[in-house]
């Protein structure tokens, strides 16, 4: 007879077989049997966070930078509810997470027991699927299934809720099944006919554009390689969503920069005026499309996505190809080489006018800002950070707000999986714990959280985690003492009524760093900025960098409320002439 294992042992046996090397968690009453077994499984390292939300975001950072699922272990009740924000964040941005939560013993479920909550009920809308395991004989199979659901098709978070008595009970262990029976949930069955149609559209187009998103990153590094090959083979311009940055080199001439609400003038105008839009792994999010009725009115639209429900959800498309980006791109390239081997040459003439137009938009230089010798402009800080780190293969996370948009605009990414930011949910407090997770996955790399002072305070306790595990993350705070994006919207839309967006009692971040037993650095003037950044980079310990920036700088360009792509506000000078009208105020 084969050996019997306890539920707690089975949890770790499953993780071993799923090649898990790190889990992020926080112990508590309902998971103590699992924590008791931890020491017996040497290949699995546990990272103790300071708040379960931190565990969730750290697991997200780990997953996005490594391509492997992030694993979380939390207790029942508050442990589970604290992780809900991170699960929702991962759900919105399609990040594979497996969350194991403890639950009160089965006989106490439904009695309002101590630290009981309806975890599967609460997390149902923010996971791809979740399970409450009520029978020890289902445990191994359920955990293996959880990993499969999290990582196949469009990735996402899952949760397995395990009552405490199940963790003690014993049964045989079941290995994961070899064949991946996907229950029809995984779609990768596009046909050659749609690829031929795509190539036909491409060869007829004189104003084409690639619009790429996080799906390219999620499809793996190979997808980014193929994307580059396709973009170079066609000579078409390419723009990317916030989540897609890095799949195509940010400093390449064919790259028009990010599109959307704070995208570049050239990217948004090209989206508006194009005659062929090829969406690869993006989802026509409302921050991308602007006013939907006037979104790219004269283009044929192609949508390549692994999730059938993304097709025609927000924007109706002319050609839909449901499949994994990597496979679709590979087929497209193959057909392109066979049928139109001289595509680039034949197409150069056809798109030359289009490129001229794009150059004209480019010459507007929409990311420019008015520099200063007295105060550090936030854009300048990002530019200097980029210049001083671009040769280091660095990993960047962010919080949410102005600093996030400036980072997306001014930091150029050349590789996938280097840029971790909360896009869909827009979670302030994401960046610091995400940086912890990234550094765990890549101990030798430079990991920087470009932060705002308001966001970073939401999860600042995770500095303690970074110190405990010697994770030398760099928290680069653009400190303007305001919730900058809130302040900007109040300025533009609410008659400068800065209601509650100023933080009057900020901590001294340098002293705070010292209290956490890490290093605090402050930069106050543009003159000293470079030296201070270099000092930060030379410090092999966690650093909180307090970069005191212009307090009232706004993030431009910007598509104002209720406007289409071709009506952007450019900068301080342009602003006066295009005031947002009363009707545009009700946007967020």
């Amino acid at each position: 007879m084969s050996k019997l294992y306890s539920g707690a042992e089975i949890v770790f046996k499953c993780m071993e077989d799923q090649n898990v090397d790190h889990i992020f968690g926080y112990p508590g009453g309902a998971v103590l049997p699992i924590y008791d077994e931890l020491q017996n499984f040497k290949s699995i390292k546990h990272v103790l966070v300071r708040h379960e939300q931190g565990a969730g975001h750290a697991a997200e950072g780990y997953a996005r930078s490594s391509g492997k699922p992030g694993v979380i272990l939390v207790t029942s009740g508050p442990g589970a509810t604290n992780v809900v924000t991170a699960l929702t964040d991962a759900y919105m941005d399609s990040i594979p997470l497996v969350c194991i939560s403890g639950q009160v013993p089965t006989h106490l479920i439904g009695t309002d027991a101590f630290q009981e909550c309806d975890t599967t009920g609460i997390t149902r809308p923010c996971t791809k699927h979740n399970w409450l395991v009520k029978d020890i004989n289902d445990l191994a199979e359920t955990i293996h299934k959880a990993f499969e659901v999290a990582t196949t098709g469009r990735p996402g978070p899952v949760l397995v809720d395990i009552p405490k008595d199940i963790q003690f009970q014993k049964t045989k262990y079941k290995k994961p099944k070899k064949e991946n029976k996907s229950n029809g949930k995984y779609h990768n069955h596009f046909n050659q006919n749609s690829i031929d149609q795509l190539i036909d559209l491409m060869s007829k187009s004189s104003k084409p554009i690639f619009y790429t998103g996080g799906g390219v990153i999620n499809s793996g590094p190979k997808a980014s390689e193929l994307l580059r090959e396709l973009v170079y083979a066609t000579g078409f311009p390419i723009t990317s969503t916030l989540q897609g940055l890095g799949s195509f080199p940010g400093d390449d001439n064919q790259f028009l920069g990010m599109l959307g609400m704070h995208g570049t003038y050239e990217a948004n105008n090209a989206m508006h005026d194009c005659d062929l839009m090829i969406n690869i792994g993006a989802r026509f999010d409302d921050r991308i499309t602007g006013k939907i009725d006037e979104f790219s009115p004269n283009s044929k639209k192609v949508h390549i996505d692994i999730d059938p429900s993304s097709i025609n959800k927000n924007v109706k498309v002319d050609l839909a190809i449901v499949g994994d980006v990597k496979n679709v791109l590979s087929s497209t390239l193959k057909s392109l080489k066979q049928k139109k081997s001289k595509f680039l040459k034949s197409n150069k003439q056809k798109t030359s006018k289009w490129w001229e137009k794009i150059q004209k938009w480019r010459s507007v230089r929409s990311l420019d800002y008015i520099g200063s010798e007295e105060t550090i402009k936030p854009q300048y800080a990002i530019e200097r950070l980029y210049e001083l780190t671009k040769d280091k293969d660095s990993y960047i996370t962010t919080e949410v707000g102005q600093h996030q948009m400036w980072a997306a605009q001014h930091y150029k990414f050349n590789k996938p999986n280097r840029w971790m930011t909360s896009g869909g949910l827009g979670t302030m407090g994401y960046g610091l714990p995400a940086a912890v997770g990234v550094q765990v996955a890549h101990p030798k790399k430079l990991v920087i959280d470009i932060a705002g002072e308001a966001s970073v305070l939401m999860t600042i306790q995770e500095m303690s985690t970074a110190v405990q595990y010697n994770l030398p993350i760099k928290i680069f705070i653009l400190n303007n003492q305001y919730m900058g994006m809130v302040r900007q919207w109040q300025e533009l839309l609410h008659d400068k009524n800065y209601s509650e967006s100023y933080t009057a009692a900020l901590p001294d971040f340098v002293k705070l760093a010292e209290a956490y037993n890490c290093v605090g650095i402050r930069a106050k003037t543009p003159e000293e900025l470079d030296d201070k950044i270099i000092e930060m980079l030379n410090t092999d310990r966690p650093v909180i960098f307090d970069c005191m920036v212009d307090k009232v700088e706004n993030c431009f360009p910007m598509i104002p409320s209720g406007k289409p792509h071709n009506q952007m506000i450019l900068g301080p000078k342009d602003q006066e002439s295009k005031k947002i009208t009363g009707k545009g105020k009700s946007l967020v």
Binding site: T120, G121, R124, P125, K128, H129, L132, K134, V149, N183, G184, K185, M261, D286, T289, G290, K291, I292, D293, D307, P308, S309, I311, N312, K313, K316, I559, P560, S561, G562, K563, T581, K583, G584, S586, L587, V588
Partner: protein, 182 residues
């Protein structure tokens, strides 16, 4: 076209709402109905009526019949979103006007009153396969199977004969002929 008032811009185009019947085959496991219904409420879809029961004891498959309204785009989203749920095996959808499909609801009427009124009530139900389930000197319980609007009408018409209580199910559906739902 008037200016949109929001960056969360909605289409100004007024699209027609159709009534559809969605049939979903699911694993009969804990919480599966909550997943399906939660998807509808969470994404703002309508549910006009709902009928659920296990149809295959061995495979533990339940069949859920949902009557819903929406634009063609919304109906399409409902189907695609349902298919993503892990316990969902199959989703079928048809318009209420579809002649190839039968759909029926059942209602129980309790009538209380003198004998002549009880008889009149039973007579009035004649078109809808009435079955007398319970009879006393003062009361009747009548079962009918009919379309939604027919039951609506009967619920009104029977008032004058002493209707005191109505209980009704959601619609269930079946294809005509030898075909089955694909």
């Amino acid at each position: 076209m008037p200016n949109s008032k929001s960056a969360y811009s909605f289409s100004n185009k007024k699209e027609k709402f159709d009534t559809h019947i969605i049939v979903v085959w699911v694993d009969n496991e804990a919480g599966v109905l909550a997943r399906v219904v939660g998807l509808f409420s969470g994404r703002g879809y309508n549910i006009e009526s709902l009928a659920v029961a296990q149809v295959d004891e061995k495979l533990k498959i339940s069949r859920i019949t949902i009557v819903t309204t929406g634009t063609p785009q919304v109906i399409n989203q409902i189907k695609l979103q349902l298919r993503k749920l892990v316990p969902v095996h199959k989703v079928a959808d048809f318009k209420r006007e579809d002649k190839a499909v039968i759909f029926k609801e059942m209602a129980l009427f309790k009538i209380v009153g003198p004998n002549n009124k009880l008889e009149s009530a039973l007579k009035a139900c004649k078109k809808y396969n009435p079955i007398l389930l319970d009879k006393t000197k003062k009361s009747n319980v009548i079962q009918i199977t009919a379309l939604r609007r027919e039951i609506d009408k009967m619920s009104k018409d029977l008032k004058k004969f002493g209707l005191v209580s109505v209980s009704r199910t959601g619609a269930v559906a079946m294809t005509r002929g030898a075909d089955i739902f694909k």
